[in-house]
Symmetry: C2
Subunit: 407 residues, 2 copies
């Protein structure tokens, strides 16, 4: 039995271009992966009549509805009341939710405010969900339809979805159509370059549903099939074709992959950042346990800092400029020396909006010091906003390190 | 006259979590800014019946509809046929669109394929739009409703929206209801704490439409009103109540606000980061021109690095641990001294998943060195994921600096 559902997102902020509706995106993806079909996503504002209309118009077409938003304590949260009226159910204080809310607030040293009272009022017959995550959602079985009401805060929504809604739906609709999925994460090729290289496979394997997604600054190639064996076969073929341009699979991130490689080799890394301003260090330390291979980094934003901390000679900066192959080289060697690490990774460049006398905006040098004398420097020209150039630089630097570590 | 509309987005990829519906987000924002009201956004798949249903159910509630997606040449593009049938209009080849398509393809050295024929077939009465941008959309005036059909490719959609749809709507509905908006950005108070402090205003000023948005780790209070004077009045009242807990307005970010304050005082800042791993530096350097007040930072992840680069005494770390008031103090003083800056900002703590012998996960010390002896240290306990604790620490550090600079 294939269960069919709809997603409803509520919030004025979603209708005025203020907040992007990432909840519906995540819900659709997770439901799909679990084998459920979503026929429609509807976004309406915090408005009594709109909420009622969309709920009632969806109800008779579906097996389940997942609704997010408008459950909070504030004035503009109108979902619960609208739902209760639409379904003609009285609002009642739910003792479980009420006590839980009180305990949570007390634990965090917060007062129980009148605004919180409202959060424990649920339509009769509802069952609170999400309490384990300090969030307050609820579930309602109404005329055989499974209705889930989740908070709009993405993190809370996500936890309740994965821990309660999906298991609950799987119990209610026991044999959803399972679809196997593999994501290959690519760095260094554009979407069309990937497509060009692998396109012939799609005619050979019509069972595979491929989609290529630009996830800045990566490209993700997502493959789906109801047949696990064929999926694995195609994944192997693509790995042969793309080789090291694939840096990871599924949820693996670039810093995780680099971290694993450093650990495996027993290497320590040190970083010297100019234009990225700390972003490389931030990415590396996003991985738990990164202190095992990352000991220190420096953000040398000014010439003075490059000279004082890293020992870049003044005449090098004077002659070639701070954004140059030579400066990058001295930075990488300098930080490797400073940290007594196996590898030193350095970046210098112009993130914009303006460039410098020696190079235009988007010019970036990345240097990797592997030994006293073994220093590799490459030059890049990136385009995009300041934030994009910073991110492209940081990810390219990590990718350069990755390719060195697997070579 | 206030024109009311709906947005419809079409595409299977939007219902399976593969592609995020950024088009509706942009459309909603641009329409709102131009003074038009969007009541609903609906996303359906490339499915004949669904497209018809949503179009017909919207038609009688609106002045205009903007629909995106499903206009392309491939077999999964079903919008035009579904629309023609729903509105009971025959499909006819549009000569203008046809010739334009031919010319465009020829220019790019591409063949005119049978699949392209389809793109010039439009419902009778339609007027092609977007041709100047090598995109093919169309407009239809149907029973007094303004209907716009745009391609799903975001760049094409965006161009046609700004160059044709918005001007056309402004001509059709000459005096849109301008709604004034002010966003107050708050740091250091929870959503309910904000609500508690300002709630009484909502009864005094029913003309104001408030919404409070948790934008981790900030809270945004968004106020809307058709009357600018009343909006300003309420904004002033809220500023009186919340004071320095409001750090910025509208699109101002914390690093921008801190940067402006540093510039104004002519101060230089240096940072010493442990658990944040470079995130504070990354945030500071997200602002163009930050090199005017940010010269350097260090990421001292290990004890060794804290001692060697910042001169934290070994006995301090041995006695109190790396996550302690004392270590934070020496770090801030050390980096201020190293950079010869006016202020030194330092953080040390446990981002998780595990804590240390001296303190549990989430324990964070933030130190601000303002002079040789004037060092302020505060202790915090943050909860959340590793990424969240890093972000909370970085933002709290910047906020601490901000409050010092305005004091």
């Amino acid at each position: 039995m294939m269960a069919i559902g709809e997603i409803i997102a509520i919030g004025d902020e979603l209708l005025v271009g203020e907040v992007m509706d990432t909840n519906s995106f995540e819900l659709a993806g997770e439901l799909y992966k679990a084998g459920f079909v979503v026929n429609r996503i509807t976004v309406v504002g915090d408005e009594h009549q709109s909420i009622q209309d969309v709920l009632l118009s969806s109800l008779n077409k579906v097996d389940f509805i997942v609704l997010t938003g408008g459950l909070g304590p504030t004035w503009d949260d109108k979902t619960v009341k609208a739902v209760a009226e639409a379904l003609n159910l009285p609002l009642k204080r739910n003792e479980e939710a009420y006590q839980h809310l009180k305990t949570c607030l007390a634990k965090r040293g917060k007062k129980f405010l009148p605004a919180h009272e409202k959060m424990a009022l649920l339509p009769k017959g509802s069952q609170p969900i999400g309490l384990a995550f300090h969030a307050c959602g609820f579930k309602l079985l109404y005329q055989g339809k499974h209705l889930y009401f989740l908070p709009g805060v993405p993190k809370q929504m996500s936890k309740i979805l994965k821990n309660q809604v999906l298991p609950d739906l799987k119990t209610a609709f026991p044999s959803p159509s399972l679809i196997y999925k593999k994501t290959l994460r690519i760095f260094g090729l554009s979407e069309s370059e990937v497509e060009e290289k692998v396109a012939e496979l799609w005619t050979d394997f019509p069972e595979i549903k491929p989609s290529s997604l630009p996830c800045f600054p990566e490209v993700h190639l997502v493959l789906r099939s109801p047949q696990k064996k064929i999926l694995n076969q195609v994944v192997d073929k693509i790995k042969d074709i793309l080789g090291h341009d694939i840096f990871g699979e599924d949820t693996e991130t670039m810093p995780q992959v680099v971290g694993k490689l450093l650990l495996k080799k027993g290497y320590k890394l040190a970083t010297a950042e100019s234009l990225t301003g700390g972003l490389i260090g931030h990415l590396i330390t996003s991985v738990a346990g990164s202190s095992d291979y990352f000991d220190r980094g420096v953000i040398t934003y000014s010439n003075q800092a490059k000279m004082e901390i890293l020992g870049v000679p003044a005449e090098i900066i004077d002659t070639y400029g701070p954004v140059s192959k030579q400066t990058a080289k001295y930075m990488a060697a300098g930080v490797r020396h400073l940290a007594k690490s196996n590898v030193g990774l350095a970046v210098t460049g112009y993130a914009g909006p303006t460039g410098g006398p020696e190079a235009p905006v988007g010019t970036v040098f990345i240097a990797l010091a592997k030994s006293e004398d073994g220093i590799e420097v490459s030059e890049y020209f990136f385009s995009g906003s300041r934030e994009e150039i910073k991110m492209l630089t940081a990810m390219t630097a990590l990718d350069k390190l990755r390719r060195y570590l697997i070579s």
